[in-house]
């Protein structure tokens, strides 16, 4: 079945994780995404295997005249452009929104960076961790000690996905108007959205939230407890949960089912799996607290396509994550990562370049000497 974005062409100039996640997301929904990199800017292999999936890859030096000319030809065929440069850089390169929309009024132009396009920090470079640092995510985890990042780079992936959302909204609007527009988001905005529960202020507001490495939960009935062999997440704070808990034999003697100290003692007496079985049978949500290694060894995650193993023609045996949304009519697709620069000649041929012109571009250093370059 066709994807929802079949027929949409995207040019992806982004690097690292956030921007390329936007391109990957659009590819998952069916877009033809062309990743454009200069030959010298080779990404690390793991991110490439993760956020390069579903794309084609061309190496092109757009700082050279013939490279920029080829880029313009591509941009004339594109519906979307993704870039993660700091403010002003794209314009200096000749690929700003005004420059491209003059040639192609329908283009949707997305900008993704660390701190946004407006405000005094708009020129600051940054990565996921810089956005975490700026918005309180790391001090929250560190408590009184050294700050700590969250376990995953939520801002990177969240920013890319939200940028893809913005691009799709702009495409939706273009269906009505025929013209494109600019889309922007940033790592700091994403970090703020993740923090939105606590990111409030009003007259009389007194900030308070659970923080620090010693934090175990928000209440005795919604909390992590140590068991005899690991950790258990208890979620018994909905209507009826207290009664269901005290109906269970180990908790019957509790005068207060929310007595944290008593609960700590009780939960420490049995294995995690025993508690999970007992609590779930009673209708109380609970889960074993898992590590990434636990998740990797979970056969369901593989059966459900949440961890995908494949033999890649260039990179050998690899594993990567799957895709969450299940669409009944336009299913999403995972795709594989391209070889870096591996589609260079093919894409130029599609644009009408002859073999001789392509060889001439190789000789001039506009494109690499050969397609398909190794990654570290």
């Amino acid at each position: 079945m066709a994807g929802a974005l079949d027929g949409i062409r995207v040019l992806d100039l982004c690097i690292i994780l956030a921007g390329p996640t936007c391109g990957r997301t659009l590819a998952e929904y069916g877009a033809d995404v062309i990743k454009i990199d200069p030959e010298h800017r080779r990404p690390a292999l793991s991110p490439w295997l993760d956020v390069g999936r579903g794309k084609r890859s061309i190496c092109l030096d757009i700082k050279k005249e013939r490279g920029l000319e080829a880029f313009y030809k591509l941009a004339d065929t594109a519906d979307v452009l993704l870039q993660g440069f700091r403010k002003g850089v794209a314009e200096r390169l000749g690929i700003g929104y005004e420059q491209l929309s003059e040639r192609n009024p329908g283009i949707v132009y997305a900008s993704i960076n660390a701190f946004g396009r407006d405000g005094p920090w708009s020129m600051r470079p940054g990565f996921d961790q810089n956005a975490q640092a700026a918005t309180g995510m790391q001090l929250r985890n560190g408590g009184d000690g050294e700050p700590g990042p969250p376990p995953y780079t939520f801002n990177d992936y969240g920013t890319g996905i939200m940028a893809a959302y913005g691009v799709m909204l702009a495409l939706l609007e273009r269906e009505r108007t025929g013209v494109g527009q600019q889309v922007s988001t940033s790592l700091a905005l994403t970090a703020s959205t993740f923090s939105s529960e606590y990111m409030v202020d009003y007259d009389g507001h007194e900030p308070s939230e659970v923080s620090g490495p010693e934090a175990k939960g928000i209440s005795p009935l919604s909390r992590l407890y140590r068991t005899s062999d690991g950790w258990l997440a208890l979620s018994a704070d909905q209507d009826g949960d207290r009664q269901r808990l005290t109906n269970l034999e180990p908790f019957r003697a509790l005068s207060d089912p929310a007595d944290q100290s008593e609960l700590e003692t009780i939960f420490a007496s049995r294995a995690t799996s025993d508690w999970v079985s007992m609590l779930r049978e009673a209708g109380i949500p609970a889960a074993a607290n898992r590590t990434l290694d636990d998740i990797r060894s979970d056969h369901h995650a593989r059966e459900a396509g949440l961890i995908v193993s494949q033999s890649h023609p260039a990179f050998g045996e690899i594993e990567h994550g799957g895709i969450a949304p299940r669409m009944s009519v336009t299913p999403v697709r995972a795709g594989t990562s391209p070889v870096f620069g591996g589609d260079t000649a093919d894409i130029l041929s599609e644009l009408g370049y002859s073999d001789a012109e392509i060889e001439s571009m190789r000789a001039a250093g506009v494109i690499p000497q050969s397609d398909g370059l190794p990654l570290r």
Binding site: A4, T21, S46, L49, R117, D118, G119, W121, R124, P125, F127, N130, Q132, A133, A134, G136, L139, R140, N141, G142, P150, D156, G158, M162, Y165, L169, L171, Q181, S184, A188, L189, S192, S196, E197, Y198, M199, V200, Y202, D203, P207, P213, A215, K216, G217, R223, L224, A233, S235, A287, A288, T291, H300, L306, I307, G321, A324, P325, M327, S328, V329
Partner: protein
């Protein structure tokens, strides 16, 4: 100005936080989001976050046991473009029609159909725990796993669902066909795990962490900075600003990346220079030199920055309960259809009369 979703009506049903956040992401882009609440109100009512996640929406109350209410709900549904739902129980108590209309149906269960835990209430702590969010962050890993207060799983799932809805609307505009979308919270977390999941069994991962990447250093004022000089182009200005340009060659030697012990020795050496200035001084200096370095702030300090306000990370809303209120800004900005909202969260059943024609409750 109108948002790109202005032509669309969204029906929001559920008590899971993820559905409220998803509704906010849609309302912020102009969608007419109608929140269906039980007559007792959403469980979050009375908390500040209700005013954030429900801004710009309309509120209609309905009793799942009252036939008239269910009929009215189905009438609303027949005019809706999108229905989003997520209940902690996993079951929608309303007997709503799922076919015979053009609405795109979006559900966000904790665990998806086919998962062994499907049917378990997918609360934030349960899903995050299953997805490896709570790791041991205590010094020396002595205290066991650490809870994080931010609802990453709920918000991440909402983020993943938002483009799925946009894609489904785009497809419907082109073909007239509607569809069903399922985004389990647990499954969405695999997108967040991302590069952590990627593995090439025949290639070992990086052996060591550079002293200039992803590190925290304490400054003269006792405050912390986070340093991410990932590129060689930022390493040289970093070392010059630190007064240690002679370290460049050793730090760019490829062998260092394979030697964890030596990296830690370098990290220990790195601790000294930062004590020569305060964290704000370092942050300003590195901003001038283009080095990705950021002072670790509290969330309240972030909200006080000029940048948070000017970049749109914060917006002001006059909330009927809390009064003038500062909240998170709009996540995605579109130049021609910016959306945004100045409308606060609705009072309970505020729109019963206009939408259901039954008078306020």
């Amino acid at each position: 100005m109108p948002g790109a979703l202005s032509p669309y009506t969204v029906l929001e049903m559920g008590d899971h936080h993820c559905v409220a956040v998803l509704g906010m992401l849609l309302a912020d882009q102009g969608a007419n989001v109608i929140k269906i609440e039980p007559t007792s109100g959403d469980p979050l009512r009375g908390t500040p976050v209700f005013s954030v996640w429900n801004r710009g929406k309309q509120s209609v109350t309905a009793d799942p046991g009252a036939d008239d209410d269910v009929d009215r709900l189905n009438s609303l549904l027949s005019d809706a473009d999108v229905v989003i739902e997520s209940f902690y129980s996993g079951e929608n108590p309303f007997d709503v029609h799922r076919s015979g209309h053009q609405a795109i149906h979006v559900t966000l269960p904790g665990f998806g159909p086919g998962h062994p835990d499907h049917g378990v209430r997918g609360s934030e702590i349960v899903v995050s725990s299953a997805a490896g969010v709570y790791v041991d962050r205590s010094p020396g890993n002595t205290e066991g796993t650490s809870f994080i207060a931010l609802p990453y799983a709920s918000i991440f799932a909402a983020m993943v669902a938002a483009p799925a809805i946009a894609a489904a609307l785009f497809h419907r505009e082109r073909t007239g066909r509607s569809q069903n979308v399922v985004v389990p919270l647990y499954d969405a977390m695999f997108t967040a795990m991302g590069a952590n999941i990627v593995r090439r069994p025949d290639v070992p991962g990086p052996a060591a962490l550079s002293p200039a990447i992803g590190r925290f250093y304490r400054c003269a004022d006792g405050r912390w900075i986070n340093l991410n000089a990932s590129y060689e182009r930022s390493l040289r200005p970093l070392l010059e600003a630190m007064g240690r340009p002679e370290w460049y060659d050793a730090l760019t030697d490829d062998r260092l990346n394979q030697n964890a012990e030596e990296c830690e020795e370098w990290a220990a050496r790195f601790r000294e220079p930062w004590l020569e200035r305060t964290a704000p001084e370092w942050e300003n200096l590195m901003a001038e030199t283009g080095v990705p370095l950021t002072m670790c702030r509290t969330l309240q300090e972030w909200m006080e920055t000029e940048h948070a306000r000017e970049s749109g990370a914060i917006l002001d809303i006059d909330d009927p309960f809390y009064g003038p209120m500062r909240q998170v800004g709009v996540q995605v900005k579109l130049s021609d259809t910016p959306g945004g909202t100045s409308n606060p969260a609705p009072t309970l059943g505020q729109h019963n009369e206009t939408l259901l024609n039954v008078g306020g409750r």
